[in-house]
């Protein structure tokens, strides 16, 4: 029986319509069999357009919906919700990507791009024609979460999860909690002592019965999927398996250690920012700023060490400018007589942190801007250290600053933790940090449902920003786990038991280990675990019997789509 299909095509405010003639597609597609409505909208995703489409679905009694717009990654869920509100089964909605896969890819040939888009939409209509209503798979979720890393982000995130009423397993590979902050002194912007913050959180974690802390422990195995993960924690007390609904990664970043010889690193008197924090913490008690037994009279800070480089780390490590300036302010406060020179490239005390830079200027810290092509040179002489630098702001005048101490203001790089990456299947970006699914839509979520990234493992962040992302991930975990149940995607593999004769090829092909062998009435067949299957389809082409297919992408549908794609019209 013919289905009434509605096709809606998006201008995407020019993103599509600048390169594809969307009106022409609407005209052409209206002639297709079963298409009873074809219309364009400036933004199909806008509320007004959605409401209009819903009205049309109801008024015209549409039975399937095709929207030609952007990638389903962006708006599949948006439009499925639309279909649902209109009383359609959300799986009778088909999205055709004519933006990423057409208009953006073919910006120089409008005619052919239009032709391609038209064919893609025709294929979408062919698929919609056969789309069957599906029911999401409902699973029960476990009201517990696992947090990897007990630095400031992990600790704070654990407390937030516990506040939501979730049980928390907090795993730390070191002997004590606190991570990087254990080694830091006072923190910008208000000078809180790092160790105090950690102590406050440690006590809070200890106080809570629903937080289980595992020290010197590691996550070694993960099975299951969103809402129902099984993770193995290996610690001094042996192995333990925990069941959780979500996993939050808070492993932080790695403080950059300069290469030997980089700005003289390795020589006495040349420290990283981290070393400097330790030094000033020790000296404050002694009330004398002494390094290696020598009193320090002049300190040079060099910024952007190891970052914003053509070779090596291209990215900016974000927090180091403010951290460097604040280290200078701390030094000035405790030891006002010490002279300071800060050699920087761009002073990135962004937002309210600009106040720190101002204060530093007012307090007489000297800032010298250098260009990456004329880097400061560190010379070791018998009298001590000298830094030669071309001051960009005085027309490139060369300064030679003799000093007792050089602080290399270093930032955070991605942590080398291949084991964890493999166990959790974490997406690692080019810069070595973990990648979120979308920086604006879903900034703490990853491509793996139920796996969140928080804090500086995503990118360099300061304390406040790390904690904020931890709290945001805790809130998202709450959304996932507090209702107690979760709907999973029903577009997963299904086995035709008559045809299947268990050869095991599908199980081999599956990257999610979702297929197992099963005996049904004496016959060995493949069985798909719906909680593990992602509907990815690796099993489909390898099956010699065509006994396995992905619901919503059945063989018949794919063939119809190919026919539609290849259909020649006059």
């Amino acid at each position: 029986m013919a289905k009434k299909i509605g096709v809606f095509i998006c201008y995407c405010g020019g993103n599509i319509s600048d390169f594809v003639d969307v009106e022409k597609i609407a005209q052409e597609i209206a002639h297709e069999d079963d298409v009873v409505r074809a219309k364009t909208h400036m933004f199909v995703c806008s509320d007004a357009a959605q409401e209009e489409i819903i009205r049309e679905i109801k008024e015209r009694g549409l039975e399937a919906l095709v929207i030609a717009s952007c990638s389903p990654k962006l708006h599949l869920e948006t439009f499925r919700r639309l279909a649902q509100r209109a009383g359609l089964n959300p799986y009778t909605y088909i999205q055709v990507n004519i933006r990423e896969q057409c208009s953006w890819a073919h910006t120089h040939n409008r005619e052919e791009a239009t032709e391609k888009a038209l064919r893609l939409v025709r294929a979408g209509v062919a698929r919609a024609r056969m789309a069957r209503p599906l029911k999401p798979i409902e699973i029960k979720t476990i009201p517990a979460a696992l947090v990897v890393g007990a630095g400031i982000t992990g600790l704070r995130t654990a407390v937030a999860l516990s506040d939501l009423g979730l049980t928390v397993h907090l795993v730390e590979k070191e002997k004590r909690v606190g991570g990087l902050l254990n080694h830091l002194d006072r923190l910008f912007p208000y000078g809180r002592q790092a160790t105090e913050l950690i102590e406050e959180l440690r006590r809070e974690v200890e106080r809570r019965e629903n937080i289980h802390l595992y020290l010197e422990a590691e996550v070694t195995k993960k099975t299951g999927s969103v809402g129902n993960f099984k993770l193995t924690i290996v610690g001094p007390e042996g192995e333990k398996e925990v069941h959780v609904g979500a996993v939050l990664v808070a492993t932080g970043g790695n403080p950059y250690v300069p290469n030997p010889g980089e700005y003289g690193y390795g020589a006495p008197g040349i420290l990283t920012l981290l070393d400097f924090h330790r030094l000033i913490r020790d000296c404050r008690g002694a009330k004398r700023f002494v390094f290696n037994g020598h009193p320090v009279r002049r300190v040079v800070f060099i910024y952007c060490v190891g970052f914003r480089e053509k070779k090596g780390h291209r990215f900016c490590s974000r927090y180091c400018c403010a951290a460097g300036v604040y280290a200078g302010l701390t030094l000035k406060k405790d030891f006002p007589q010490i002279e300071q020179f800060h050699l920087y490239r761009d002073m990135r005390t962004y937002g309210s942190l600009e106040r720190l830079y101002h204060q530093a200027l007012e307090e007489g810290l000297v800032f010298v801007r250098f260009n990456e092509t004329h880097r400061p040179e560190v010379l070791e002489t018998e009298e001590g250290l000298t830094v030669r630098v071309k001051d960009e702001l005085t027309g490139g005048k060369e300064l030679a600053i003799s000093c007792d101490l050089i602080v290399l203001v270093t930032g955070l790089e991605g942590k080398e933790q291949q084991k964890l990456v493999d166990v959790l299947k974490l997406p690692v970006g080019k810069d070595g940090f973990f990648n979120e699914i979308h920086p604006k839509l879903r900034p703490v979520e990853t491509v793996i449902d139920g796996l969140f990234i928080t804090g500086a493992c995503q990118a360099p962040k300061n304390i406040s920003e790390s904690v904020a992302s931890g709290l945001a991930a805790a809130a998202k975990s709450g959304v996932l786990l507090l209702p107690g149940k979760l709907d999973l995607e029903p577009q997963i593999a299904r086995v035709n038991l008559q045809k299947c004769s268990w050869c095991g090829l599908c199980a081999e092909a599956c990257p999610y280990e979702a297929i197992v062998k099963e005996e049904i009435q004496g016959k060995a067949v493949a069985r798909v675990n719906p909680a593990l299957c992602k509907g990815e389809g690796a099993c489909v082409p390898v099956c010699p019997e065509e006994a396995i297919e992905v619901q919503g992408y059945e063989h018949q549908q794919i063939k119809a789509m190919i026919d539609a794609l290849c259909k020649e019209t006059a």
Partner: protein, 704 residues
């Protein structure tokens, strides 16, 4: 209005921060009310072109979030609403009074079709296009607006309309004439009073006396404009159509033909009553109008009374008792004292009694209007008074406030329009009712008034965002005087898919700009104005704009004048180096002064901090990246202790280390740029963080 609704959280501000928090809280099963002062949610983000560093289109990200919030079963959105008062209860919850501003459009009926915008006669700078183009006084905020409903921007009544003693809307006919709608202008006046043209000739002109232009370049000839419309319409020999509201079965007898009685009859008939009138209207005309107004004119105007269906009876009126058998209401100007006291069905002018059972609707409307009619007419129309004196036995002469002068006569529409164009649209909407006539959903409702709503909520999230520095304060940069100096937000509008000129053109002459300057840190990092802190977003959005310009205009030169390039976020530095590789020029230097050439090009004076020296550069478009300033007006509504501000006047986070987003008041949180400038990813994360705080707080106070 009392309202017992309870919400776990009230969110103030429907920008990206408020939306993110609302959706997340709603998804967690909490009831949320989102208050937005504009007519649509979406905040600043929805107005942007593309967003750094991924160059996603802003609409593609913000629009679905707006739709998701609007359709969320647990999120209630209150657009066009202000928070009026916040009081903290003993239990730690908040009692909030909201003020729903009148939209003058019934949102339940409005379909967002936009017909009203086409016919509206008043233009206003479009705040959603950063004032680059005009919109109408009735407007749908922007194409992706949520809700997509029209609102009318109205600031009370214009002085001319407010001061008209008989309650006409002079602003309406001026605006209609300005739009060339002559027939409509006259018809609009007839909506409120009969023989409007005649009255315009006779009136002393309170409207003109109160016209704002009077003290500037001279008042508009408001009466003359109406007279022009009336003569034009009546001269064309086609009686104007006058709309009659719902026909009622009520029958009214009017036993007089004085101007007041005629007016009353007319108003009742327009409201739908079946009116019969005894008396000779042409005699009235001769007595009152003839000495001052051409006969053809007042005769034709009187004839219009027939248009509304008044039945004129030439014979002598029957006895009142007899009339009562047929009519529900009898209007008699000179009843006997006894009748007046005892008989509710007989009304005298001004109305002293009303027969409410039969005539509530009609009387409700007409009474309010007619009560002061006599007095008003006496004040406004000295001739009427004189005629009356002459025809009756005298009486006390009313004191005239204003001297009379004859209204000017216009002979052509262009002559009239030239005057009408001087109107300043003081009250914004002029109530010309063009929208009322065209609206297919009958959604326009001028009777709306501000509505107070009280709700109780467990927590408050302030997501009020930021505002932008007004660069016209820095005169040396010429923003207010040079058309080709824009703000960064304006450039983003020019680059956006819903852009005003449909291309990137410079405003002065519509030329494609070929050499564009982007000037950073205008009103931020600045000790002399704006804010001393850094606005955090301008470096990156300017780099984005530079890339988009180079995409749109491949041969254009783009120069960015900066202090420091702050490309600090994930992927930002790479985005910056990409712009350098594309050929964007980066000049370290602060622009101190801008001058304009005769062809509207601009000369920038700046100190080149690298190469040294004060230099000049010529550009054909200059864009000022203006600083982000605090927008914390909402704090005024807190009774008792209000959330504290930090030293830059943003809402203070009391513990940014462990509790980012928490203010000094338990239960009040701050998300996004309200606590300091933030880009979109940081705002979204910050808003997510406040959700965790809010849920923990609700648990603490035992909210259920």
């Amino acid at each position: 209005m009392k309202n017992d609704e309870r919400f776990a959280c009230m969110i103030v501000g429907g920008g990206i921060a408020g939306l993110e928090a609302a959706i997340t809280l709603g998804d967690m099963g909490l009831e949320v009310i989102l208050v937005e002062k504009e007519a649509s949610i979406g905040g600043k983000m929805i107005l942007l072109s593309k967003v750094f560093p991924t160059l996603d289109c802003a609409s593609c990200i913000a629009t679905p979030k707006m739709a998701q919030a609007a359709n969320h079963p647990r999120v209630k959105i209150m657009p066009y609403t202000d928070v009026k008062r916040v009081e903290r209860n003993a239990q730690g919850t908040f009692r909030v009074t909201l003020n729903k501003r009148p939209t003058y459009v019934d949102f339940n009926r409005c379909t967002g079709c936009g017909q009203c915008e086409k016919v509206c006669t008043v233009g206003r700078p479009d705040q959603f296009q950063e004032g680059l183009v005009a919109r109408k006084a009735i407007y749908i905020p922007f194409p992706q607006a949520v809700p997509k409903k029209a609102v009318i921007e109205k600031r009370g009544l214009s002085p001319c309309s407010r001061k008209c003693p008989v309650g006409l809307r002079p602003h309406a006919w001026v605006a209609l004439l300005r739009a060339g709608k002559v027939k409509e202008a006259y018809r609009r006046a007839l909506k409120d009073i009969p023989f409007a043209g005649t009255l315009a000739t006779l009136c002393v002109g309170y409207c003109e006396h109160n016209c704002t232009q009077r003290k500037r370049e001279g008042a508009l000839p408001i009466r003359g404009l109406l007279l022009f419309a009336a003569r034009k319409v009546l001269g064309a020999d086609q009686p104007p159509e006058i709309a009659v509201e719902n026909r009622l079965s009520t029958k009214v007898a009017v036993l007089d033909a004085s101007p007041e009685a005629l007016t009353t009859a007319y108003m009742l008939a327009r409201a739908g009553a079946q009116v019969s009138l005894w008396g000779d209207i042409y005699k009235t005309g001769e007595t009152f109008f003839s000495p001052h107004v051409p006969e053809w004119f007042w005769k034709k105007e009187l004839k219009c009374l027939e248009q509304v269906g008044i039945e004129f009876k030439k014979e002598k009126p029957p006895e009142i008792e007899k009339l009562k058998q047929t009519y529900d209401l009898i209007i008699h100007l000179n009843p006997s004292a006894q009748q007046e006291q005892t008989d509710n069905a007989v009304l005298t002018l001004p109305f002293k009694a009303e027969k409410t059972e039969d005539l509530p609707v009609v009387l409700g409307k007409v009474r309010a209007w007619t009560q002061d009619l006599l007095k008003a007419l006496e004040h406004a129309l000295p001739f009427l008074e004189e005629a009356k004196e002459a025809s009756s036995s005298g009486g006390e002469r009313a004191v005239k406030d204003l001297p009379y002068s004859e209204p000017p006569v216009f002979w052509s529409l262009s002559q009239a329009q030239e005057q009408a164009r001087r109107c300043l649209d003081c009250g914004l909407c002029c109530e010309c009712h063009q929208c009322v006539e065209v609206c297919p959903a009958k959604a326009i409702d001028f009777s709306m008034v501000p509505q107070e709503v009280e709700v109780e909520c467990g927590a408050i999230l302030l997501a009020t965002g930021f505002k932008l520095y007004d660069p016209s304060k820095r005169r040396t940069l010429g923003y207010a005087s040079y058309p080709n100096v824009l703000t960064g937000m304006q450039l983003d509008r020019l680059l956006s898919p819903t852009r005003p000129y449909n291309w990137l053109l410079r405003p002065s002459d519509g030329k494609l700009p070929g050499n564009i300057a982007l000037v950073l840190c205008v009103g931020s990092r600045d000790l002399t104005g704006g804010t001393r802190i850094c606005s955090r977003i301008c470096c990156m959005y300017s780099i984005k704009q530079a890339q988009l310009i180079m995409g749109a205009l491949p041969i254009a030169e783009v120069t960015i004048y900066y202090i420091d390039i702050r490309a600090f976020g994930k992927g930002y530095e790479e985005f910056f180096t990409q712009a350098e590789a594309m050929g964007v020029h980066f000049v370290k230097g602060k622009v101190s002064r801008i001058e304009e050439t005769t062809n509207n090009d601009l000369i920038l004076f700046y100190e080149d901090l690298i190469k040294g020296g004060v230099k000049k550069a010529r550009h054909d478009l200059v864009v000022l990246a203006t600083g982000a300033l605090p927008q914390t007006e909402v704090l005024k509504v807190f009774k008792g202790e209000a959330p504290a501000l930090d030293s830059s006047s943003f809402i203070e986070e009391i513990d940014p280390y462990l509790h980012p987003g928490r203010t000094n008041i338990p239960g009040v949180f701050v998300a996004g740029a309200a606590s300091g400038p933030k880009d979109i990813p940081d705002t979204v994360i910050h808003a997510g963080a406040t959700v965790a705080h809010i849920v923990a707080h609700l648990k603490e106070i035992g909210w259920s």
